[in-house]
């Protein structure tokens, strides 16, 4: 899988039209000698398979190449911006789970009632939402008409928070500036809602159907017959067994979140990976696009692995049957 992704990314970039070296040169014209030097430095004079081999070996040593534009290692740029995207993604996911999970359970418990239909209707609207438009609408409403939230960025420029972890919420708490934390939180609200909308809808829908399946099981009927309180029945007996599906669904949202981050970060000028990759695509920064693609795919794959490992924690039977 990992090799597949590197091959894919590598292949794409080779097919990209335009000469990367001329792109670096920009408006200035380049002497043939300089061109040859560049060719050699970037390794474009070698055969393609050798270039690929070099690339793979580099990646295995943590070297993802160097950006044309900034002349900095890709991994360094990525790591610098990654916390911003993670922070946004985690908050969006929190928003989605905190609302989506209870909404799904509630809809399942109140099956075929007005509440169920209402929740499912709203979640279908959320699922169908073009989030770039949704973001603009929220900006119009909350930032322009109600002036409750800022339009863009991660934190007000009044604050200068020292970078420790890269996560502004944590850094601003560690720092001693009053209000920095609130400013950061303030900036996070709208982007998180926008990014969390589609996962929220998916989680609500899938939780509902997972719960419905579990609720028709015998042990739930037994629990009801024993006269257990609804909280014990739904919260303990049913939810635990529905969690496998729900965790899978939540894990699958990571890809959705990263794709959504491209749009959300563009709308809110959020200095994260999404905005960076768009910028790299537009400025034809080949190595950055290539490295970014591989790194993002690696993130998605590792999250999927973690989700797989979590099954065992939730349902010990999975571990024991092996």
């Amino acid at each position: 899988m990992f090799f597949g992704v590197t091959l894919l990314a590598f292949g794409f970039i080779r097919i990209l039209p335009g000469d990367p070296i001329l792109t670096i040169a920009g408006e200035r014209s380049m002497k043939p000698e300089q061109y040859a030097v560049m060719m050699e430095r970037l390794g474009f004079d070698k055969p393609v398979w050798e270039q690929y081999l070099d690339y793979i070996l580099g990646i295995l040593q943590g070297d993802f190449g160097t950006s044309f534009l900034t002349n900095r290692p890709i991994i360094e740029e990525f790591m610098e911006l990654f916390p911003a995207t993670v922070e946004l993604g985690v908050c969006a996911m929190l928003f989605a789970v905190v609302i989506g999970l209870p909404a799904g359970i509630f809809a399942a418990v109140k099956r075929r009632t007005f509440y169920d239909q209402g929740i499912m209707g709203i979640s279908l609207v959320g699922y169908s939402m073009p989030i770039f438009w949704w973001g603009l609408l929220l900006i119009i409403l909350f930032s322009n008409i109600l002036s409750l939230t800022p339009v863009s960025g991660r934190i007000s420029f009044l604050y200068d928070v020292e970078t420790v972890t890269g996560f502004l919420l944590i850094d601003s708490l560690l720092g001693d500036e009053d209000g920095a934390f609130w400013s950061a939180l303030h900036h996070l609200v709208l982007p998180s809602i926008v990014l969390g909308t589609i996962p929220l809808a998916i989680i609500a829908r899938q939780t509902r159907s997972a719960m419905l399946e579990v609720l028709s099981e015998d042990y739930v009927r037994t629990a009801k017959a024993k006269g257990l309180s609804p909280i014990r029945i739904y919260g303990l007996h049913a939810l635990r067994n529905a969690m496998i599906t729900v965790i899978t669904v939540i894990g699958l949202q990571v890809g959705v979140l990263l794709a959504g981050a491209i749009l959300t970060e563009t709308i809110f000028s959020w200095p994260g990976i999404g905005k960076w990759i768009i910028f790299s695509v537009f400025s034809r920064d080949y190595f950055a696009v290539q490295g970014g693609l591989v790194l993002i795919a690696m993130c998605v794959m590792s999250v999927n692995l973690i989700v797989d490992l979590m099954y065992g924690l939730i349902n010990p039977r999975i571990l024991h049957t092996r």
């Binding site: 279908l124 438009w133 794709a259």
Partner: protein
């Protein structure tokens, strides 16, 4: 001779009966019917865009820049949904945009269905190394978030509506391949397939005529649901400037080109987005209804 005609009539009756049964289950869901009716409306709108739209979508009315919608103060009944930064009628642009969005969705589905079916059937039929290779490639495509994949592909192919459609098709294809392969494998061991092989049917015949029709139900559902995401992703690429290029009135592009006006003239971005939302919502309602009607497991037994 008379036997064959009888056979034909029976077959027609059977198709008729199946359709009736399908409609019975489908029409049970009111929302699905609403979705269907709405989509037929959008389809008609796209077909007769020239007749319906009050103005030419690219005509610039120089006296009417950023006119608000008709019901707002300062609006004019000449421009129901107002005009954009260049004095073009937004309603007309949305109506014409429906052509591009529906076409994008349709072409994506067409590419996905044909390539997905062929590749998926090949994987299911040949098994072994061919299957492993195909499925690895598909897994690889799936491991990159869809929009990002499409974005990079468009960067490779160059921005434009057609390239956006191709890029989106490639990112959706794995779902179709997997679905076809899974249902083809489960069908391949059935008696009727063995019977047809014993009867001497060739490979292609078994793949496309014997097995394929019995795998179509999940593919149709997937196609419907992908239709809506294709419209969303085309609009998203358009919004990012990598899809349809202005002045093409694609819905996402409409939002992008009026984005700077969103605070002073919010209607210029509100209505195109609303068009996307409603169309996607209607297709999703339709898709849910189709799934309930076509998926035998969910049918009430």
């Amino acid at each position: 001779m008379s036997e064959t005609t009888n056979g034909k009539i029976d077959q027609r009756g059977e198709v008729h009966r199946q359709l009736a049964e399908f409609w019975f289950y489908f029409s049970e869901s009111k929302t699905a019917v609403v979705g269907l009716v709405f989509m037929i409306g959008v389809l008609l709108m796209a077909l007769f865009a020239d007749v319906i739209s009050p103005h030419d979508p690219s005509e610039q009315f120089r006296e009417f820049f950023e006119v608000p919608p008709a019901w707002v103060e300062g609006g004019s009944s000449q421009f129901l949904l107002g005009t954009d930064y260049a004095g073009r009628d937004i309603l007309s642009r949305i109506i014409h945009g429906s052509r591009l969005s529906l076409m994008a969705g349709g072409i994506v589905i067409l590419i996905c269905l044909t390539s997905g079916i062929v590749i998926g059937l090949a994987a299911a039929y040949f098994r072994g190394i061919v299957e492993t290779l195909i499925m690895r490639v598909m897994d690889t495509i799936l491991s990159v978030p869809g929009l990002l994949m499409a974005l990079v592909l468009v960067a490779v192919l160059g921005p434009g509506l057609l390239n956006a459609m191709i890029a989106i098709s490639i990112t959706y294809m794995p779902y179709f391949v997997r679905l076809t392969r899974a249902s083809a494998i489960s069908e391949a061991s059935r008696e009727y397939v063995v019977a047809s092989r014993v009867a001497g049917a060739g490979r292609l015949r078994i793949m496309f005529i014997t097995i394929l029709p019995n795998c179509m139900a999940p593919l149709i559902v997937q196609a419907t649901l992908s239709f809506s995401t294709a419209i969303l992703d085309t609009a998203a690429l358009g919004f990012l400037g990598m899809g349809a290029q202005p002045p093409q009135p694609e819905w996402g592009t409409l939002i992008a080109e009026n984005r700077d006006l969103m605070l002073s003239a919010p209607w210029t971005v509100t209505f195109p987005g609303l068009a996307i939302l409603l169309a996607v919502l209607a297709i999703n309602l339709l898709g849910d209804g189709l799934r309930d009607a076509l998926d035998p497991r969910l049918k009430r037994s």
